[in-house]
C-alpha cells in the first residue's frame, strides 16, 4: 500500500484526536493547537501535492 506523507499527518491527527480525549480538559488550547498542527501540515502537503500533479498534466 502506497502511503504519502500527507496521509501520515492525517493519520497522526486522527489518532491524536482520539487518544487525547482523556486529557483534553487539562490540555486546553495548547493541546488543541498541537493536534491541529498535524492536521494543517497534512492539508498543506496534500494541496501542494495536487498543485504539483496538475502542473505536470
Amino acid at each position: 500500500m502506497k502511503i504519502k506523507v500527507h496521509n501520515l499527518f492525517f493519520l497522526l491527527a486522527g489518532l491524536a484526536t482520539l487518544l487525547s480525549l482523556p486529557f483534553v480538559a487539562e490540555g486546553g488550547l495548547a493541546l488543541w493547537i498541537i493536534i491541529k498542527s498535524f492536521y494543517f501540515l497534512g492539508v498543506i502537503l496534500f494541496i501542494t501535492g495536487i498543485i504539483k500533479e496538475s502542473r505536470k498534466i
Binding site: L11, G14, L15, T17, L29, F40, G42, V43, F46
Partner: protein, 307 residues
C-alpha cells in the same frame, strides 16, 4: 432534546451547504469544460455539470422551505460549533439573520428559475453562461452565510458565525456532491474517466473546509471551550472523519482511478468494493452526524452516544 425548530435549522444548513457546494462545483466543471481542448472530455464535463442541477434544486427546496418555516413560524435558541464548542445564539441574532437574508434568498430563488429555464430550453445559453450563473449562486449562498446569524455588528462572534456556516459548503455539501456524482456515474465509464481524476480536488476542498472550521473555533475558544460528553462524542466523530478521509483521499482515490485507466484498467476485488462502500458510508454518516448533533443538546453519557 430534539425539537422541530432545531430540525428546521439543521435542514436549512444542510440545504444551503448543498446549494453552495453544487454551485461551486458547477463553476469548476464549466471552467474545466472551457479550458479543455478534447471534444469528448468537454461533452463529459457538460453532462456532469448538468447532473448537478438535481441536487442544486433539491438543496434549494429544502433550504427555502426551512428558511420560511424558521422565519415565519419557529424560534430557535442555540447554535453550536462543529467541534462541540458551544456558543449560544440569542433569539435576536436569529431574527436579525432571517430578516437580513430575505433579499439574497429571493435572488437565489430567481436565479434557480433562470437556471432551470435555460437548462431545459436553452442548452447553448446554459453552456455559455453556466459559469456566471453558478458563480452568482455561490456568492449569494456565501452572502446568506454572512448574515444567517447576525449579532448586529461585525465582530469576532459575527465572523465565527459566518465561518461556522460557510465551511459547510466545503465539507458537508461537497461530501454530498462527491457521493452524488459517484453514484450517478456508475455504469458510465466515460463520465467516470472524467470525474474520478477530479476527486482529489474535491478532497482537498473538504480537508481545507474542515481546517476552516478548526480555525474559526479559535475565535471563540476561550469563551466556549467546555469539555462535556457531547464535546467528547463530536471529537470522536471528527477523529473518524480524519482517519476515514485519509483512506478516501489516498488508497480509495488511487483504487478508483486504476479502474478507469484507458490502457490497463484494474477492476476492484469484491473485498475492495466492500471496503470502499463502507468507507463512503462512514464518511457521509459522520458528516451528517456532526452537523446534526451540533445543533442539539443531548443529556446523554458518552457511551450512550457512541451506541
Amino acid at each position: 432534546m430534539i425539537d422541530l425548530p432545531t430540525i428546521a435549522r439543521f435542514l436549512m444548513q444542510l440545504g444551503l451547504a448543498v446549494v453552495g457546494a453544487t454551485s461551486l462545483w458547477s463553476v469548476f466543471l464549466h471552467y474545466r469544460r472551457r479550458k479543455t481542448k478534447e471534444e469528448s472530455e468537454a461533452k463529459n464535463l457538460e453532462r456532469l455539470a448538468g447532473l448537478l442541477i438535481t441536487p442544486f434544486l433539491l438543496g434549494l427546496t429544502i433550504f427555502i422551505l426551512s428558511w420560511i418555516a424558521l422565519k415565519d413560524f419557529f424560534y430557535v435558541i442555540k447554535s453550536l460549533a462543529h467541534e462541540g464548542i458551544v456558543v449560544k445564539a440569542t433569539l435576536d441574532y436569529i431574527q436579525n439573520g432571517l430578516q437580513a437574508t430575505a433579499w439574497p434568498v429571493y435572488l437565489l430563488g430567481l436565479l434557480a428559475v433562470i437556471v432551470v429555464y435555460i437548462f431545459r430550453y436553452r442548452k447553448d445559453l446554459f453552456n455559455r453562461y453556466g459559469i456566471f450563473l453558478f458563480s452568482a449562486g455561490f456568492l449569494l449562498v456565501s452572502l446568506i452565510d454572512v448574515f444567517i446569524l447576525y449579532v448586529g455588528s461585525f465582530n469576532k462572534l459575527q465572523l465565527f458565525y459566518f465561518l461556522h456556516h460557510w465551511h459547510s459548503i466545503f465539507t458537508l455539501g461537497t461530501v454530498i456532491t462527491v457521493d452524488y456524482l459517484y453514484f450517478r456515474t456508475i455504469g458510465y465509464i466515460n463520465l467516470k474517466r472524467t470525474i474520478y481524476p477530479l476527486f482529489p480536488f474535491l478532497s482537498a476542498v473538504i480537508w481545507a473546509g474542515l481546517g476552516l472550521d478548526f480555525l474559526s473555533n479559535l475565535l471563540i475558544f476561550k469563551q466556549a471551550f467546555v469539555v462535556n460528553s457531547q464535546f467528547l462524542f463530536i471529537q470522536t466523530v471528527i477523529a473518524i472523519i480524519i482517519l476515514n478521509g485519509a483512506m478516501l483521499s489516498g488508497r480509495i482515490n488511487w483504487g478508483l482511478l486504476a479502474t478507469v485507466q484507458p490502457d490497463n484498467p484494474r477492476p476492484l476485488s469484491p473485498k475492495e468494493e466492500r471496503f470502499f462502500r463502507l468507507s463512503g458510508s462512514a464518511s457521509i454518516t459522520s458528516w451528517v452526524t456532526v452537523a446534526f448533533v451540533d445543533l442539539f443538546v443531548f443529556d446523554l453519557k458518552y457511551w450512550q452516544r457512541v451506541k
